[in-house]
């Protein structure tokens, strides 16, 4: 047993007490701090989502009045986007796994890492505060256009400030990861020997670093307009309101890739482990992450097709949007090719990842419909957009998050979850998810506008199906959370390497010691996913 030979206590045992957690400099603990804060927000926002679906079970008013409904969907969107999906995978699993995957003892700047978490907490406080203080910002949807357009430059200030603080947390995490990846790789690990999750974190970190300052500049411009009366966005003093939308989306579109890229990294990590096979097209996957990050900067205009854009500009943004599909498709083909003729071991993490591919494909294809100028004008602001968005974000990013949670659960806690229960939770989640969101795509094509608490009777049946799906999904979610919680407390002890993985985190004990490795991890020969070699080191 490894335990007997362990000279160090694991990172849970190293220190005790609440202060040892909230002021910790250990990347693993910071990752878990993010996990618990994000998890709490997720439960709240998911609850709000269920309430919305319940209201939409029947046409007319059932549960809440229209104003409350508007506030509920705004809160749902703001929490899910800014407090959950943007930080989720990089902040939780990036923090926990990156140094382990690189074979090092921590990130490059541990104090900065702690500061990032604190900024996240303060930013969350601000973001939720803007919904409570003042008036008018609680019912605007997550893009916050309204306070700007209705009362130019008023309530948007604290909101942009919140996005800025949260963004700063994101910038610092990005900076930390970039430096860590460049400087702290274990000896012998070149860029092309890094695990693909690290590559995706690297691409994401550059987006975080380059895109987030734009929201900061926007904030400064708003302040300049309000304080000095310089006409920047307000048309009554010679400004251009469209500029605000441009700046908002120049940040917020790349932010979509902050959400999607790490999820793709998780997929690239889990598939070779459970296929016990070298990943197909390592470089293609690695470089396509960078390509997505790069092209992602130039497509923001597709959010503004209907808000006054010239024909040629619309055409160019539309074409550029289609370009994003190419590196994405490269990844999907490579994942599928990796599974081909692999020794597939079907476990919960793999199931979540396969669900990711299925859902993400639907999300991607419906995205192409929205990206094409001619089709978009017919379905914009309908439930089609809601369906698409949830397929990409929930079916994609969040499913990958769940996959990662089940993949690294034994590593984090040294316990194994109850697999049969986890399978049941997965099936309910997957079925519930599709039953909830697929009808939305059809409703959208039929013209049902989004954001209403009410709808016309012809949409009733599909709305009922969708609400029914949300119940299935929630039961899956509850079973999953309870299962993980119970397993954390009372689960069977997990071996150090339950999945026969060969990336470096599986070479240390579970949970890892404070400094991650008791002895220098050994790089697998022939690349990070060269499985036949791996078996020899396993024994």
């Amino acid at each position: 047993m490894t335990e007997a030979t362990l000279p160090q206590p694991n990172f849970f045992q190293a220190k005790k007490g609440i202060a040892s957690w909230i002021f910790t400099l250990d990347h693993k603990r910071i990752g878990l701090l993010y996990l618990f804060s994000i998890g709490t927000f997720f439960v709240v926002a998911a609850g709000l989502g269920v309430l919305m679906r319940l209201e939409l079970l029947n046409p007319g008013r059932d549960l809440m009045d229209p104003q409350t409904y508007n506030q509920v969907f705004t809160l749902h969107g703001v929490i899910m986007i800014f407090l959950l999906i943007i930080p989720s995978i990089p902040a939780v699993f990036g923090n926990f796994a990156l140094p382990l995957l690189l074979g090092t003892d921590d990130v490059a700047f541990p104090k900065l890492n702690l500061l990032s978490w604190w900024l996240y907490v303060i930013g969350a406080f601000f973001a939720l505060g803007t919904l409570v203080y003042g008036e008018g910002s609680a019912d605007t949807g997550w893009t916050f256009y309204a306070p700007y357009s209705v009362k130019t430059g008023t309530n948007v200030t604290p909101t942009v400030l919140a996005a800025f603080i949260l963004g700063f947390s994101s910038i610092l995490t990005g900076l930390n990861f970039i430096v860590t990846i460049h400087r702290l790789r274990t000896p012998g690990m070149g860029f092309n020997q890094m695990p693909l999750f690290v590559w995706s974190l690297y691409a994401t970190a550059w987006i975080q670093l380059l895109a987030t300052p734009i929201i900061g500049i926007t904030l400064l411009m708003i302040v300049a307009e309000r304080v000095f009366g310089i006409g920047l966005f307000d048309p009554s003093i010679g400004g251009d309101p469209i500029l605000y939308q441009h700046l908002f989306w120049i940040y917020s579109h790349p932010a979509v890739y902050i959400m999607a890229l790490p999820a793709m990294g998780i997929v690239s990590e889990i598939i070779p482990t459970f296929a016990q096979r070298t990943i197909f097209g390592y470089k293609a996957i690695a470089y396509s992450s960078m390509a997505i990050a790069f092209v992602g900067y130039f497509v923001w205009g597709h959010h503004m097709f209907t808000s006054g854009m010239s024909g040629p500009a619309g055409f160019i943004f539309s074409i550029l949007t289609f370009f994003v599909a190419i590196p994405t498709a490269i990844k999907v083909f490579n994942w599928v090719a990796t599974l081909y003729k692999g020794s597939i071991n079907i476990q919960v993490p793999l199931l979540f990842v396969l669900a990711f591919i299925f859902n993400f494909m639907i999300g991607g294809f419906t995205g192409l419909v929205l990206g094409s100028l001619a089709a978009d004008v017919h379905v914009h602001d309908t439930y089609f957009v809601v369906g698409h968005f949830h397929y990409v974000m929930f079916g994609g990013a969040v499913f990958a998050f769940f996959g990662a949670l089940h993949y690294w659960f034994p590593k984090i806690w040294g316990k194994m979850y109850h697999k049969a229960t986890a399978n049941v939770a997965f099936v309910l989640l997957f079925v519930g998810f599709n039953v909830t969101y697929f009808p939305m795509l059809i409703l959208g094509l039929q013209g049902m506008p989004r954001r209403y608490y009410d709808y016309l009777p012809e949409f009733h049946r599909l709305n009922m199906v969708s609400t029914f799906g949300s119940w299935i999904m929630v039961s899956g979610l509850i079973i999953m959370i309870v299962n993980l919680f119970v397993s954390w407390k009372n689960g069977a002890k997990a071996p150090d390497n339950p999945w026969n993985g060969i990336t470096l985190e599986w070479q240390t004990s579970s949970p890892p010691p404070l400094h991650n490795f008791d002895k220098m991890p050994e790089l697998p020969e022939g690349g990070p996913y060269n499985y036949p070699n791996a078996k020899s080191y396993q024994e």
């Binding site: 104003q67 900076l175 048309p235």
Partner: protein, 264 residues
């Protein structure tokens, strides 16, 4: 302990700082829409239709009415707005004249019925079904009546030279003349948005605005406002420069040589 004290102080500061950020800007200086949901339009609004008939707005409203405030010589979003509305009306399965009517009112008091007639001809052609002749009216009026109507529905525009800066939106009134819905947009309306709004108005139910992405019709002078682009250009270059130098340093310095993990 020290950490916790700093933390508590930060949160207290934020608590007091937030309301300050949320303070209101006085609305009278601002153009835009100040929603007056559930309020009735005045009884004495008399406008002239395209055939020189004097029409009392409130008395003539006997069914859900879509109110469109534009000016006919607008070089900006008014035409796309009317086109978009006509397109949505055409696609919708509710019947113009039977289920609802449309009042287009010019807020430029210098515009007269012949111009209104001309506009009516252009736009009614786009709607293939319904009684476009009697149920889509194009009004003009004097400045006092226009100002009164603006007050009633919370609409603010600003004159600049010969043109107006104004918001792009349509309003829906119930058969009693009550404002029940604002639909924001400048060129694209969903047929179902229109239908929902009309159905609600028929029942006298109002709904808070869903999609508050308000568009403005405005002229922008890129030559006179160069500093805006300078701000974005300079800050953009700065960010790229910083990121570039970070990458350069990282690549040049390479991997950290010292590794703390002992080779046990």
């Amino acid at each position: 302990m020290k950490h916790l004290a700093i933390l508590a102080l930060t949160f207290i500061l934020i608590h007091f700082a937030l309301p300050a950020f949320s303070e209101e800007v006085k609305p009278e200086n601002q153009l835009g829409i100040y929603e007056k949901l559930d309020q009735y339009i005045s009884d004495d609004l008399v406008f002239t239709d395209e055939l020189y008939n004097q029409v009392n707005l409130k008395k003539s409203i006997d069914k859900p009415t879509i109110l469109v405030l534009v000016y006919y010589e607008c070089p900006g979003i008014c035409s796309p707005l009317l086109n978009g509305l006509a397109d949505a009306m055409d696609k919708s399965d509710i019947e113009l004249g039977k289920d609802y009517q449309v009042y287009t009112i010019s807020f430029s008091h210098t515009e007269k019925p012949p111009l209104a007639r001309q506009k009516k001809k252009t736009y009614t052609k786009l709607v293939k079904h319904g009684d476009t002749q009697n149920a889509w009216k194009f009004f003009t009026g004097d400045s006092i009546t226009i100002a009164q109507l603006f007050d009633d529905v919370g609409y603010k525009v600003k004159k600049e030279g010969k043109e107006y800066i104004h918001p792009g939106a349509i309003m829906v009134l119930s058969p009693e003349g009550k404002v029940t819905r604002y639909l924001y947009g400048s060129a694209y309306f969903l047929p179902f948005d229109i239908k929902m709004a009309v159905v609600e108005a028929a029942e006298g139910r109002s709904g808070p605005t869903i999609n508050k992405v308000l568009n403005y019709c405005f002229s922008y002078d890129p030559e006179g406002q160069k500093y805006v682009f300078n701000v974005t250009k300079i800050s953009g270059s700065l960010i790229l420069l910083l990121a570039g130098s970070l990458l350069f340093t990282m690549v040049m310095k390479g991997r950290k040589r010292k590794n703390k993990i002992s080779k046990a």
